[in-house]
């Protein structure tokens, strides 16, 4: 049987099971079984981000159950078309929630996400880094909310820095970006830290150079590298922490 024939058969079987579902609860289990390959396929797309595949399959299965319970066969779309974004949404939500080292209220997470967009836009518009009052006014939040979101952002797992930067699998991680720059030589001339700096990924070295040698602001660095200021801030903190760890007592 060809793949197309198999797919057509699965679709037909899915339609039949949804017809049986109102009178036969066991049809739900058979729908789950029939779509486990889809669950596994989607879960595998999220592998390599620090979570065991078994856990991802469980999360994706939960997404499948939600999709089965919410699907309306009268709408004329195929179930797999409907289920895929529901399952992917469940997986993304799982990563979003798991990504915080300390549980941060959803509202603050959302303010934090908006900060990443609004801060560079305001910096561009004002020609300087905005104050928290200006950020709050722009977002419709208080200065206190902005401050809380800033602090909450710092507890976000540093692991996320090296996660793919986009939503699709083809996006590069930060450490894969950037190239050697002759100007970095200047930074590396710091004799006492040179051996450690050479071990850093090019992008992290570039950020250290831009911040501590070229004396650029974090916003300017973010603009130059095409990443958010928050990313630059986290990356700086992560790099300094790793340098500190490498140096031990910090005295080189």
């Amino acid at each position: 049987m060809t793949d197309t024939e198999q797919r057509d058969l699965n679709r037909e079987r899915t339609r039949e099971l949804f017809e049986q579902l109102p009178t036969d609860p066991s049809a739900r289990d058979r729908l789950v079984e029939l779509h486990l390959p889809l669950v596994e396929y989607l879960a595998r797309r999220f592998r390599g981000r620090g979570e065991p595949l078994e856990d991802l399959i469980q999360v994706a299965s939960l997404g499948l159950l939600k999709a089965i319970d919410r699907f309306d066969s009268d709408r004329g779309v195929e179930f797999s078309t409907y289920a895929t974004p529901t399952i992917v949404g469940e997986l993304k939500r799982y990563f979003r929630d798991k990504g915080w080292a300390i549980r941060v209220p959803r509202r603050l997470q959302e303010v934090g996400l908006q900060l990443a967009e609004v801060v560079p836009a305001l910096a561009q518009e004002l020609g300087r880094s905005p104050t928290l009052q200006e950020i709050g006014d722009s977002l419709g939040f208080s200065e206190e909310d902005v401050l809380e979101a800033m602090n909450a952002a710092q507890v976000y797992s540093l692991k996320s820095l090296d996660a793919p930067t986009g939503t699709d699998d083809s996006s590069l991680s930060i450490s894969q970006l950037g190239a050697e720059d002759e100007a970095l030589e200047l930074f590396e001339s710091w004799a006492s830290v040179a051996p450690l700096l050479k071990k850093l990924p090019p992008r992290e070295r570039e950020i250290l150079y831009l911040r501590f040698v070229a004396n650029e602001t974090q916003s300017k660095i973010a603009e130059k590298l095409g990443i958010s200021q928050m990313h630059v801030s986290r990356l700086l903190a992560k790099t300094l922490a790793s340098l500190r760890e490498s140096v031990g007592s910090f005295d080189a």
């Binding site: 602090n151 602001t217 500190r244 910090f250």
Partner: protein
């Protein structure tokens, strides 16, 4: 989180321009230091970038001192104290009550000093009330330039 509630037993706010904080000498509490520093920075009207950098400097200073403090020191009640004074300048002093051999170090030869000097206007490794301390100063005029740059 229980430890945070019981460990941060001394946050003293005399005025919004004079704040002291004492936490256990453990890395887990650096976030508390950052939160207090960012709060003072925000109330002084610092820009988003300037607040981030002052926090980064304060937590680097604290982490440096923690790195010199034996882990058993924290278990025996070692404390990390932070004092913020904000008038024209913002002055942050981070100190530890744990004994640190060879203090102050040859400051300008340390990586910590180089990094801190890139984040604030003045860095000094000093003895404060007999305890090893790092003093960071963000100068008023320089602060303005950070805000306006």
């Amino acid at each position: 989180m229980q430890e945070v509630n019981t460990g941060v037993n001394a946050v003293e706010v005399r005025t919004m321009g004079d704040v002291s904080l004492s936490v256990p000498a453990k890395p887990d509490f650096l976030q508390v230091v950052r939160a207090v520093v960012s709060g003072v920075g925000a109330r002084r009207g610092l820009s988003y970038d300037a607040i981030n950098e002052l926090c980064l400097a304060a937590s680097e200073a604290a982490a440096y001192l923690l790195g010199l403090t034996p882990a058993e020191g924290a278990a025996r009640g070692g404390r990390l104290s932070v004092r913020l004074r904000a008038k024209d300048d913002i002055d942050v002093t981070v100190m530890t009550n744990a004994p640190v051999p060879m203090w102050p170090p040859p400051a300008q030869r340390t990586l910590a000093w180089r990094i801190l000097a890139g984040l604030v206007d003045q860095v000094s490794f000093v003895l404060e009330e007999g305890c090893p301390a790092i003093r960071l100063v963000l100068a008023g005029p320089a602060r303005e330039s950070v805000t306006e740059s």
